[in-house]
Symmetry: C2
Subunit: 356 residues, 2 copies
Amino acid sequence: MLDIKITKTTAPKKLPDKDDPLTFGTIFTDHMFMMDYKEGIGWYDARIIPYQPISLEPSAMVFHYGQEMFEGLKAYKAKDGRILLFRPDMNAKRTNRSCRRLCIPEIPEEDFIQAIKELVKIDSAWVPTREGTSLYIRPFIIATDPFLGVRPSKTYKFIIILSPVGAYYPEGINPVKIWIEDDYVRAVKGGIGEAKAGGNYVASLKAQIKAHDEGYSQVLWLDGVHRKYVEEVGSMNIFFKIDGVVVTPELSGSILPGVTRDSVITLCKSWGYKVEERLISIDEIYEAYQKGKLEEVFGTGTAAVISPVGQLRWKDHIMRIGDGNTGPLSRKLYDSLTGIQLGKLKDIFNWTVVVE
Amino acid sequence: MLDIKITKTTAPKKLPDKDDPLTFGTIFTDHMFMMDYKEGIGWYDARIIPYQPISLEPSAMVFHYGQEMFEGLKAYKAKDGRILLFRPDMNAKRTNRSCRRLCIPEIPEEDFIQAIKELVKIDSAWVPTREGTSLYIRPFIIATDPFLGVRPSKTYKFIIILSPVGAYYPEGINPVKIWIEDDYVRAVKGGIGEAKAGGNYVASLKAQIKAHDEGYSQVLWLDGVHRKYVEEVGSMNIFFKIDGVVVTPELSGSILPGVTRDSVITLCKSWGYKVEERLISIDEIYEAYQKGKLEEVFGTGTAAVISPVGQLRWKDHIMRIGDGNTGPLSRKLYDSLTGIQLGKLKDIFNWTVVVE
Ligand SMILES: Cc1ncc(COP(=O)(O)O)c(C=O)c1O
Ligand SMILES: Cc1ncc(COP(=O)(O)O)c(C=O)c1O
């Protein structure tokens, strides 16, 4: 149990208007959580302080060697006023998996969750209520040793910031167009692809710009070894419904094990769908498409929840999925997930955690 | 031509003792260079200021998405008092190649070099003179937009800091033991391996710790696709002398195009060696070793210049190179490079640039 010292802001910011649809990741709440790490001491000095800049030496290792990880989850305000977190234990576990891969010291799961809860409670007035909005929670760890040379840092900061958000994609729940990239690679087996590490995201920018220039809003990555197996989208896992079966790439070591991915698999199975986690080649997808068996495609992630895919572009082939509208399974998943997240539907899997 | 505004420190630090052998990357000089970037404006506000912490929003993109790049080069004090840079144009060019891959705005080469020169001039008293020491120059760029979401930042900071340094490896010019990694992967073709990006270094830590635990000081990476072609060492390129021929991995897209690598190739060719830049499988190396034809192995990099390899460990095979001492070619390269860098030898390739 962390002993969190609290210093409240004396200059609270203006809350966004209740009717503001909000953008993503541009405004931040009044407070932040911070905790330091030092070799030989461990994590110490847990505190909630007014939201403020961080001051670091220019030689701080995070600026040079990319030793940093982050997480992302959301808090929702239910109709009855309760504030609900969605599966924060999954983010706590994934944090530690990322930390192990990146040689960052781990954080006890219960401390991770406690820190989130206390911070969200203090800034609870910031949890928005308009449909499609939520409070995005961004925990992250950065390496702070003032040292040039390649080795793990001996000091770190664990920080949590909060941002009231609306839709991540301007398309919202409407189908997006996705570009299948066969030149650039995001991550490879044996690398850091399954960690939520900054290096994976900067690696994705170049292809993202290429896709945008071609009129596509997201990139679907292929594996770095064979350049043919489907991996994931920029910040979502990917699902295909082929001839009635729900198929998604297996966790092979180079993709992020998404919390939404896991939840979608659980929901689909509970509804009687056959769900396959396995290698899926892009040729298989194209063949299914040509045979008229590619029924639905959708991305899953905390930011967008479910993002239906309306079009896939692979080399010169354009695959138009369904009739251009959100498919029935995508819609049902979106409604079920957001229903549970908002406390409107029965939480049969015990996924939500109340902030009290 | 940059108009660099200079603010001198009013509290200069104590210079290290003239006889201090110095460590690597732990002490920094009195001043730093800084310049900002804003979309629509470009790079602006070039300034030299007292060495000081950087203050950033906790949402600054560099902390989350790894959009950062760095360079490394050295300044040396010649016997006649001149301060010499070694091939700074190569670092300027590589900076821009890294920037293009990482979607960071480029910096005009002449501005990059001018900034280094002016900063080194101001802190010229910090260029150490003891044998084996130099002033390490660390230019780097970080993304500073206060924004959560994956896209290139619209604001950046370009910073240069200076550190008087001694040997990068405790071994100095003595042979190091190197572990050949066949589980973890540093980078893959199509990824960011050829950029000097933080993400590549954090990816290397886990294997580095494994190697240290086994008593090896560095990791030699194999390619991420076939897991058999030699790539590079943690922060050095790698060379083999096999049966009289100098062989080094070609620039395939996943390794850093080292300045020292380029200089070593040029020197070896000028001495009449046959130099091959090509794919080299680890089996080929092992076979050459078994036949007694693996004459020398050495790493090349700014930090260590030439680092002879005394032992290679690949799975259960241990290859002992030469007689345990620094090989003649490694020694000759070290003497020639440092000779040119220190202005002791004739600079026939016009590699050094005087800071005046
Ligand atoms: C690369 C990547 N893949 C997948 C996901 C989806 O994971 P989750 O459902 O946990 O948000 C994310 C975003 O979090 C991501 O960044
Ligand atoms: C990954 C990597 N490879 C190779 C090198 C050697 O490059 P250079 O000779 O330019 O220092 C470095 C260091 O700079 C490096 O970080």
